[in-house]
């Protein structure tokens, strides 16, 4: 195991608060949400594991219940959803992007539904073709606006495009998911209003 103090980038006699803030800073940086649809996600989770271990080692006695970021479920392939393209999803989760792309493009145009466009978008993002990826996920959302999976990825891509990240931003990375939730709330509110008007 590496020196836990070195991993967190702090001195040996750091206070508990310093340890915590260093941990929080690093956890934000390597949070799995930042690496969804990214081929480097395994390296990031490795880093995350190191940080967690180091933090555990230093603050051994204190309880750590809510802070373990590792368990967050954001990866789309972890959610067990009914899929028309299980093999394509399998390839994506294994990181075989070329095969996934080939297989997906072999489907005839008539069977290209919202999920097809969504998976194509995910593949394109992994490949680094971000603009095409964004356009495809957008199409998927338009075809099936109620799907939470598409909406959450679309929300993430949208917040990446807004440029609200890095040192020039006012908000940080972790605020992405909130955006989706807000959208959902406002959607329900609007729908509710419509229903009342109709009644």
């Amino acid at each position: 195991m590496k020196d836990p103090y070195e991993v967190l980038g702090i001195s040996k006699n750091a206070t508990t608060d310093e340890v915590k803030s260093a941990y929080r800073e690093l956890a934000k940086k390597y949070h799995p949400d930042n690496y969804s649809d990214n081929p480097l996600s395994d390296l990031a989770s490795e880093k995350m594991r190191e940080i967690n271990e180091a933090y555990d080692f230093i603050i051994n006695k204190e309880k750590r219940s809510s802070n373990s970021y590792d368990q967050s479920q954001n990866s789309y392939h972890k959610n067990t959803v009914y899929s028309k393209f299980p093999n394509v999803r399998e390839f994506i989760s294994r990181g075989q992007i070329d095969q996934a792309e080939q297989m997906l493009s072999s489907f005839p145009e008539s069977s290209r539904d919202a999920e097809w466009f969504f998976l194509r978008g995910v593949i394109m993002c992994r490949k680094g073709w971000l603009d095409e990826g964004f356009a495809n996920v957008q199409t998927a959302c338009r075809m099936d606006p109620s799907n939470p999976e598409y909406r959450s990825v679309f929300g993430q891509l949208q917040s990446q495009r807004s440029g609200n990240f890095g040192p020039y931003s006012s908000t940080d990375f972790s605020n992405q998911s909130r955006c989706g939730a807000m959208d959902a709330c406002s959607f329900i509110l609007c729908a509710d209003c419509c229903c009342r008007i109709c009644n």
């Binding site: 940086k29 390597y30 930042n34 690496y35 990214n38 081929p39 480097l40 390296l43 990031a44 880093k47 394109m124 680094g128 073709w129 971000l130 603009d131 095409e132 964004f134 891509l157 990446q160 495009r161 807004s162 440029g163 990240f165 890095g166 040192p167 020039y168």
Partner: protein
Amino acid sequence: MFGYIKINKEDEGELLVKELNIYKTVYCTLCKVLGKSFGVVSRLTLSYDCVFLAILMIGLKSDSAMLAKTQRCVVNKFKKCHFCTSFEDEFKFVSAVSIILSRFKIVDDIKDSKNFFKKFCSYFLLIIFELPYKRAKKLHCDVDKIVEDKIKKQNLIENSNCTIDESSDSTAQMFSFIFSKLSTDESQKRVLNRFGFFLGKWIYLIDAVDDFKKDFKGGNFNPFIVKFGGDFDKAKEYSAGVLNQVLYQLFVAYSLLEIKNLNGLLDNIVKLSLKRTQNKIFNEPQNERNESSFFLKFKKSRKIQRVILEKGENK
């Protein structure tokens, strides 16, 4: 395409004096190595982008401090400069990359330029760069091969109607290959691959935004003109989104690099300066800025004249 990656000196307190000195040292050393190993003319290819490449390479290599000595500048004998005495191989690699990239840029210029005089100048440059290029090619033939291959692909793609991603793919892959050579560690190679990919993509696209008006007038290829025609405002709005997304992926990959040395300097370039350069280009396009400032000055001077005249009349 050169000169978009530089240090951020404008934001006060962001860059330390010692970091600036290291930057200057790397710049001077690169200039010296270029001249010494590849011939005097190759010094013309020196660019900020290659300085960044050298700094990243040194930062990834080891945490030992850079050794430097003070000597007179190779160009201006009255100036004293610091030269790095360690990391010889790294500087040689970056110099070779610099020459290879510049040589292909000249070839590209010859093809694109319609002006006879410019074409003549480019041919002249091509001839004097032949010897340095041959030396660089001998040292790193794999880089040369990739660059040649990707530029050929780029030319093929530009003749067809292509999307933003398709047009930027060649440059991105070229950089991806060059950056992946900076480390021998497998997982670091993967990170560098992705980092280089998005850096190349960013450079290609920011160049396209910067040259939009020029390309539109000259009828040259530009991915944003293909998509939006001459509508500059629409293209600007859309391209901001694309570039932000590229920068996001770039930052995310950068966080995974295991940098052992020169962290502050690299952070300054990657995290602050790229975004700043982008904002600058979006907020005030260069050619417009020059025009407007000239007209403003002219108008202002007229106004002052009028005020003075009116005052005189009142008296």
